[in-house]
Every structure is written in structure tokens, then in C-alpha cells.
């Protein structure tokens, strides 16, 4: 293809990008702030690596390119837990990166610069990868393979200019850049449509690739899932790695948090962005297979460009080139901007403050963008040809994932300490460098082969502790993250959380003057407006937040030192302690009051119930006593008034007298039993042979049964339990007396044992009338001349023993009750 056409297309496309960005800062501002633009801007995740590298990966490794997109899908499903929380924190504290968060959360002066410096070093390969993709694509379409010429350099410089123009207009990086967002969203659309179009045309012209694989059986392995443990581990690790990278990449933080104008945009992004990733991956497999079938000698990373050329479709190849360029440029612009903010906030501004040159921070931020771009270009020229596109990207992903333990534990675990975060980060960085970064440089010939072999077989960088079979990225990722997490957790558990940072207070006038000097008159005016009604301490906090957004949290703290003073610690401590003490006392007082109120109410209810029960009992007892007493009195009067009664008559009256006094006596006994029960006499539990107890009860009622001509039957199992023997005997006697009173010819007692002991007393009498069944266990409810207390007492006694009593359905009357089966727990000898 004509190089002039290519160059012209490239620069025209970049020019179009400038126009779109200008539109976003002008008339298209509302479009840039829409949820769709936000969602598409997240697709800055899909870089040249996606556009060209995925096809290369699928053509050589099979399906393992897909986990790189499944991880972000998973992470976005958790947005109500993760991104929403981050957004609220970022808004409150003007966070511009994860390094800001680490400094804010842990307050350790070393964490921010360490994270910033490491991210710059760790992401250089990733930026280099994008420049390499552009250079490779350009050379390929020109018809040259080697050496890579310098088309990457002018592109990098143009992109640096773009990032400077649309990302560093002002000092405050936490302000929104609508032009940048709209340009990135536009590029996301371009790369998606370009890849779908290339895939669609190839499929349209060549048909399905799958039937053609029958002639190339060696390609069928690309369609198989990972079969061994190492393959499965690689799959799962890539899902986790990509999820963490999506969360912690500086450019993703920038577009998803800093550029977010409304948290509700996440609702759309949570499904639309995974859909975008799904769509952009659809053509990857067909393109990879056709590449292997038609271009067996070609570079798999360039199949996206080579296949259209193979079909003789030059315009489609040009579109594919522009798609790759759009994927690379969006990433390069946003990543270099995000890295420049990291550099200026955490590395440069403390230095500039020391040299009293903070006024030139914006200039230095622009220089940072240029420097990052040139360093990436340098990396690409020096080490870029040693690795395939994908491997270079993955090294950067693993670097970014090192922020995860400190970041996530800092978000969700109060016990995470600065020492733990620092130890974890340092450990993770060391292992990342040893297992991935240094071997990559060694592969490029920049370092001796020693860095691939290690000092000992157990210390081999790509197989620590003698591990074999894992691919280097999976191995490096698992090793570095495991050590990082272990150190963060372990050191946090054994170190104390730092005391709250010293609070400062200051005068609004002095704070406003500081803001004017550093951020300009607009910031001063905004501060005066917000701080008008705030006390000195809160005004100082607001000024710190505003400064931190622009010059970084560490420098903001240093700047404030000159115009604020520490809140007197004693006064503060006394104030806090006094408030805490008052709060504790108030809570305890309220709890005690509530407790007393509840107890009083319960006692009142109990008293009321007892009073009512007492009245009812008195009425019932009076009534029950009156009947036999009246009979006794009448019989006694008859006997007194008629001394000449015949012996037979006198005997009959005396017999009646005896019967009534027996009834009176039983009534009094049951009332006494009832009052004992009400008084809550404690249980006297002892190991009891229930069978022997039942035999005893049968023996006691035997004379009465014989007198009435009733046959006693029994079926008694052997059962032992821990219970109150006398109470059980009383229940049995009550039920047996009740049965004998109603039986015609037969009373049966059964004792069974299953999970509990079951007694059943049945008779062949007329049974309980249906209308009386619900009342038989109520006090003084007699339906046959009894006292009306026997069954009531039986129920109360059984319940006090932990059992249940009921009336069964069927012929005659059958009462059953259960008792829990318990054994005596003897001292095992362990105690005294």
C-alpha cells in the first residue's frame, strides 16, 4: 500500500480526533456527559492488544484470550460495592488516582510516591506495546517487515500534544475533560465497528472457517478448553488478573472515576460495557483461524491487516489499520495523562515545593506527558521486539495488580495498617521485577541470561521453588500477588494502626490567600463561597481537599502547614473524651430506663393475671366446696332430727356422709397440689424407672377398679429417665382415676419409648363430648362429677416436667402424655 496514503490517513484520523475533542468541549458537551459516552470511554480498556494481539493470541494459544475480557465483566457486576464507593470517596476528597487513595487511607508518606513510580515503570511496556502496534501495522501495510522505522515517534509526539491540549488545560486534574472523554468514546466506536466490519467481510467472502479445519487437524487444538491443572490455573488467573487490572489501571481510574459526572451512569455501563467486550471479541476466532489457514507464515498479530489484503480489499485493510490506531491512541492519550498526574502529584510537586517552584507545576505536568511518551517509545525501541504484544501487556497488568491488596483491604478492612500496605507493595514489586520484568529485559538482550536462570534451581525467576509447567505470566502473577497479600495481611495483624492524623485549623483569609497563590483567583473565590460559615478546622480541611486535587495530597498537607496551626491536642482530647463519656453515660442510662420499664410492665401483667386467677379460683373452690358441704350438713341434720331411723336407713345415710367427705377430702388435696404448683415448688429430679412407677400406680388404683368391676390392662416397656418421680405418679393417678370414673368394663395403661417416653391411658367409656374436648384441661371443668382439677393438674405437672399431654381421637377416652428421655450427666473427672 502506498506509504503516502497511509501517512495521510493516519494524520487525517488524528486530526479528526482533535476535532471531536474540540466538539466535546463546545457544542457536544452534553453528549460527552451522557451515560453512553461514559460507557464507551471505559472501552479505553480495549487497546491495540485487543484489536490485533487477541487475534494473534487466539491463533497460537486458543481460547485463553477471552479471560482478559471476562474479568472486567465480573468486576463491573460488583459496581454497587466497588465503583460506587470509590466515586463517593473521590468526590469527597478529590482523588485522582489509586495512589491518592493509598495516601489518604494510610497516611504514609512513602506509599503515594512508591505506587506512582512503580506504575510508571510497570506501565511503560504497555504504552510501548501500543506504539509497537502502530509501527508494525504501518510497516506491514507498506510492505516492509524489518527494521521498525520511526512512524511511532511522530505519532507519539502528536498524541502527547493531544493529551497536553485536552487533558492539562488547568492545574486541577479532578475537573472533567469532556473533549477527551468524547474523543475516547469516538475511538471506541471506531475500533468496534472496524473489527466487526473486518470480521464480517472475511466471513462473507470466505464462509465458515470450521469445516476447513478438517484438513488441518493440528489447528483443532485451538478449539479445546484447557485440559490440565496448569491450563485451568492459567485461565482462572487471567480472569482474576484482568479484573484487577480493569479496576487498578490508572487510565481506567481516570475514565471511570475522575471523568464520571453522574454515579448513575454505572447502571448503563454495568451491562453495556460487557456487551461491548462481547461484541468486539466475536470476530477474533474466525480471523485467527483464517489467518492460520491462509497465512501460515504470517505474523499472527497482524492477521487483522493481512486478511483484508489477502482478499484484495485495500480499503478494508486501511480501515483495519485505523481501527488499530484508534485502539492504540485512545489508550496512549489517557494512560499518559493519568501517569503524568501521578508523577506530578506524588513525585514532582513535593520537589517543586522544596525549590519554591510550585507555580510551574502545570508546565511540569505537560513535560511529564512528553517524558512518559518518550520513555515508552524508548522501551519499544530497546525491548519491544523481544516479546509478542500480549506478553508485554500482561507484564503491565501484573504490575498494576500489585495495588490490589492495599487498595481493596484499605477500602473494606479497618485493620489494614500503613506498614502492612507498604510491606505488601514492596514485596509484590520485588517479586514482579524478579519473575517478570527482569527476565523480559534479559530476553531482549539488555540483561545477561543470568536473569532468566536465577542463582539456584529453586530460585529460577520463571519457576520459583522449582514450580514447572506454569506459563511465566501466571507464575509471576500468582507468586507476586500471594506474597503481596500475605505481607499486607500479616504485617497489618502485627502492627498497630497509626493514630489519627493531626488536625489543623486556620483562618479563612489566610487559607484563601494560599489557594489564590497556588490555584488562582477562581479557586480562591470558590473556597470563600464554601467556607463562609465553616469553623476554622473544617475550612482547613476544605482547603486541603481543594489543594490535594491539584498538587497531590502530600504537597497539600505541606502547603497547609504554613497557614494553619495544630488543633490543641489536650483540648481536643478532653473534648472528645468528654463527648464520648457523655454519650456512653446517656446510652447506659437510656438502656437501664428501658430495661426497668419492661420489667415493670411484665410484673404488672403477671400480677394482673395472678389476681384474676385468684378470683376465679376462689369462686370455683367456693362453688365446689359448697355442694358436698351442703350434702354433709343435710345428712347430719337428718340423722340428728330422726334418732329413730332404722339401722338400714341410718347406714345408708352414714355411707353417703362418708362418700361426700371423701370427695371433700380429695378436693382439698387437689387444691393443695394446685397451690403448690402455683407457688413454683422446684422439681426433684432423680433417675426413675417409669415402668416400675406405672406398676405402682396400677397397684394403687387396683382396689377401686375391683370395687367397680373394671379390668385393668397394661403394656409397659422398660424406660428409664431423669424426672420428678412424685409428679409423674400424681399425673398417672389423676388420669387413671379419671378413666376409672368413666370406664364401663376396661382401662388400659401403655408405656412406650421412642425419642421420648409416651404414656397412654384409655377407657371404654362414652368418651368426651365434642363440645367439651377443648375444655378438659381447664380448671374446674368437670363433666362427670369430679373436682374438675385432676386433668388441669395433670397438664400443669406434665408441662413442668418438659412434656406434653393431649386427648386422642377414637372410641372411649384416651389421654396421652410424653416425658423427655434424659440421662444423668456425671462428672467426667475433668473438674474438681
Amino acid at each position: 500500500m502506498n506509504p503516502l496514503v497511509l501517512l495521510l490517513s493516519l494524520f487525517l484520523y488524528l486530526g479528526l480526533l482533535f476535532l471531536v475533542a474540540l466538539l466535546g468541549e463546545g457544542r457536544g458537551r452534553s453528549l460527552a456527559q451522557s451515560p453512553w459516552a461514559y460507557t464507551l470511554s471505559l472501552a479505553v480498556y480495549a487497546t491495540a492488544w485487543t484489536f490485533m494481539g487477541s487475534v494473534g493470541w487466539a491463533a497460537t494459544e486458543g481460547a485463553s484470550f477471552l479471560p482478559i475480557y471476562l474479568g472486567p465483566t465480573l468486576v463491573l457486576l460488583l459496581w454497587p460495592f466497588l465503583q460506587e464507593r470509590l466515586l463517593s470517596l473521590a468526590r469527597a476528597h478529590r482523588l485522582t488516582s489509586w495512589a491518592d487513595f493509598l495516601y489518604l487511607r494510610f497516611g504514609h508518606g512513602l506509599l503515594g510516591p512508591l505506587a506512582a513510580g512503580f506504575l510508571v515503570v510497570g506501565l511503560l511496556p504497555y504504552l510501548a506495546l501500543q506504539l509497537k502496534a502502530i509501527a508494525q501495522a504501518f510497516l506491514f501495510l507498506r510492505g516492509e517487515e524489518e527494521p521498525l522505522t520511526d512512524i511511532a515517534l511522530p505519532t507519539a509526539l502528536l498524541l502527547a500534544l493531544f493529551a497536553i491540549l485536552f487533558g492539562t488545560r488547568r492545574l486541577d486534574p479532578s475537573e472533567r475533560h469532556q473533549g477527551l472523554v468524547l474523543a475516547v468514546a469516538f475511538e471506541s466506536l471506531v475500533k468496534l465497528l472496524a473489527l466487526l466490519l473486518v470480521g464480517g467481510v472475511v466471513l462473507w467472502q470466505l464462509g465458515s472457517p470450521f469445516p476447513k479445519l478438517q484438513n488441518r487437524p493440528e489447528l483443532l487444538s485451538l478449539l479445546l478448553p484447557p485440559e490440565d491443572l496448569a491450563g485451568y490455573l492459567e485461565w482462572a488467573s487471567l480472569v482474576l488478573l484482568s479484573g484487577l487490572a480493569f479496576l487498578f489501571l490508572p487510565r481506567q481510574f481516570h475514565v471511570s472515576v475522575v471523568e464520571n459526572t453522574d454515579p448513575q451512569h454505572l447502571r448503563l455501563a454495568a451491562w453495556a460495557f460487557p456487551l461491548y467486550l462481547l461484541l468486539i471479541n466475536l470476530p477474533v476466532l474466525p480471523l485467527a483461524l483464517f489467518g492460520r489457514l491462509l497465512l501460515p507464515e504470517g505474523n499472527p498479530d497482524l492477521y487483522v491487516l493481512a486478511l483484508p489484503l489477502e482478499l484484495g480489499n485495500g480499503p478494508l485493510a486501511l480501515l483495519a489499520f485505523l481501527g488499530g490506531v484508534s485502539a492504540a491512541t485512545a489508550m496512549v492519550v489517557v494512560e499518559s495523562l493519568a501517569l503524568s498526574i501521578l508523577i506530578s502529584n506524588h513525585l514532582l510537586s513535593p520537589l517543586l515545593l522544596r525549590f519554591r517552584a510550585l507555580g510551574s507545576l502545570l508546565f511540569w505536568r505537560r513535560i511529564s506527558i512528553l517524558t512518559v511518551m518518550l520513555l515508552a517509545y524508548l522501551y519499544f525501541r530497546l525491548a519491544g521486539e523481544a516479546y509478542a504484544l500480549v506478553a508485554m501487556g500482561l507484564i503491565s497488568f501484573v504490575a498494576v495488580a500489585q495495588l490490589a491488596p492495599a487498595g481493596l483491604l484499605g477500602l473494606f478492612w479497618k485493620g489494614a495498617t500503613p506498614q502492612g500496605a507498604l510491606a505488601g507493595l514492596l514485596g509484590g514489586i520485588a517479586v514482579w521485577a524478579y519473575t517478570l520484568f527482569l527476565p523480559a529485559l534479559a530476553r531482549s538482550g539488555w540483561l545477561p541470561p543470568f536473569f532468566l536462570e536465577g542463582p539456584h534451581p529453586l530460585m529460577r525467576p520463571e519457576g520459583l521453588l522449582g514450580v514447572r509447567g506454569l506459563d511465566p505470566v501466571t507464575h509471576g502473577f500468582l507468586a507476586s500477588l500471594t506474597l503481596n497479600l500475605a505481607l499486607t495481611l500479616g504485617v497489618s495483624l502485627f502492627t498497630r494502626r497509626m493514630a489519627l492524623q493531626e488536625e489543623r485549623t486556620g483562618e479563612v483569609e489566610e487559607l484563601a490567600a494560599l489557594l489564590r497563590r497556588v490555584l488562582g483567583p477562581e479557586a480562591e473565590e470558590s473556597f470563600r463561597h464554601q467556607a463562609r460559615a465553616l469553623p476554622g478546622r473544617e475550612a482547613a480541611g476544605l482547603a486541603e481537599t481543594l489543594l490535594a486535587g491539584s498538587v497531590g495530597p502530600a504537597t497539600a498537607k505541606l502547603l497547609l502547614l504554613s497557614v494553619t496551626r495544630a488543633v490543641p491536642p489536650e483540648a481536643l482530647r478532653e473534648e472528645v473524651e468528654e463527648a464520648a463519656r457523655e454519650s456512653r453515660e446517656l446510652r447506659a442510662y437510656a438502656q437501664a430506663l428501658e430495661e426497668a420499664r419492661r420489667e415493670l410492665a411484665e410484673a404488672y401483667e403477671r400480677l394482673k393475671a395472678l389476681d384474676q386467677a385468684k378470683d376465679e379460683l376462689l369462686a370455683a373452690v367456693s362453688h365446689e366446696l359448697k355442694t358436698p358441704l351442703t350434702a354433709v350438713r343435710a345428712l347430719a341434720e337428718i340423722l340428728e332430727a330422726n334418732p329413730d331411723l332404722s339401722e338400714e336407713e341410718r347406714g345408708r345415710f352414714v355411707s353417703l356422709l362418708t362418700k361426700e367427705t371423701v370427695r371433700l377430702s380429695r378436693l382439698v388435696e387437689e387444691i393443695l397440689a394446685y397451690t403448690r404448683l402455683q407457688a413454683g415448688v422446684p422439681l426433684a429430679r432423680s433417675p426413675t424407672d417409669l415402668r416400675a412407677l406405672a406398676v405402682e400406680a396400677l397397684a394403687l388404683v387396683e382396689p377401686l377398679a375391683r370395687e367397680r368391676g373394671i379390668t385393668m390392662e397394661s403394656h409397659l416397656a422398660e424406660v428409664q429417665t431423669l424426672t420428678d418421680r412424685d409428679r409423674v405418679l400424681q399425673v398417672l393417678l389423676n388420669l387413671l382415676h379419671n378413666a376409672l370414673r368413666h370406664a364401663r368394663s376396661r382401662v388400659r395403661l401403655e408405656l412406650l419409648a421412642n425419642q421420648e417416653a409416651l404414656f397412654r391411658v384409655s377407657d371404654d367409656g362414652p368418651g368426651v363430648p365434642p363440645q367439651a374436648r377443648t375444655l378438659v384441661f381447664e380448671p374446674f371443668q368437670s363433666f362427670s362429677g369430679g373436682t374438675g382439677l385432676g386433668l388441669f393438674l395433670a397438664r400443669r405437672l406434665v408441662e413442668s416436667l418438659g412434656g406434653r399431654i393431649w386427648l386422642e381421637e377414637g372410641e372411649g377416652a384416651t389421654f396421652a402424655f410424653t416425658l423427655p428421655l434424659e440421662v444423668e450427666h456425671e462428672d467426667s473427672g475433668g473438674g474438681r
Binding site: A63, L74, L77, F81, S208, L220, L223, P225, Y232, P274
Partner: protein, 58 residues
């Protein structure tokens, strides 16, 4: 909504990490298409659909 989002995340995690070699031992299915890719893309589509139903504005 947080509980449902977590449940959907767990479902997606299961689908994406399921050891596919247990059920898709052959590279091509009866339709001449690779079952592994069909499974992954259909699972992915299902997760997107459920996320749409869960997160869309009421």
C-alpha cells in the same frame, strides 16, 4: 439491589470458571461449531442480559 448484584456476580463467576473440558472434550460439535466458544459466548450473553434486567432504571 446489592444482594442481587452479588448473586449475579457469583453466577457469572461459576459460568466463566467452569472447567469446560469436563463437558466439551471435542473441538467441534455436531453442528460443526466449537462447543467451547459457543458455551462461553452464550454464558457471557446471558450474564449481560441479566445485568441489563437488574441494573436498568425502573
Amino acid at each position: 439491589m446489592k444482594e442481587r448484584a452479588l448473586a449475579l456476580f457469583l453466577l457469572a463467576l461459576f459460568l466463566f470458571l467452569f472447567p469446560a473440558s469436563l463437558v466439551f472434550p471435542a473441538p467441534l460439535g455436531s453442528q460443526g461449531l466449537p462447543p467451547l466458544y459457543l458455551y462461553l459466548y452464550v454464558s457471557w450473553g446471558l450474564v449481560v442480559l441479566l445485568a441489563y434486567l437488574l441494573f436498568r432504571r425502573s
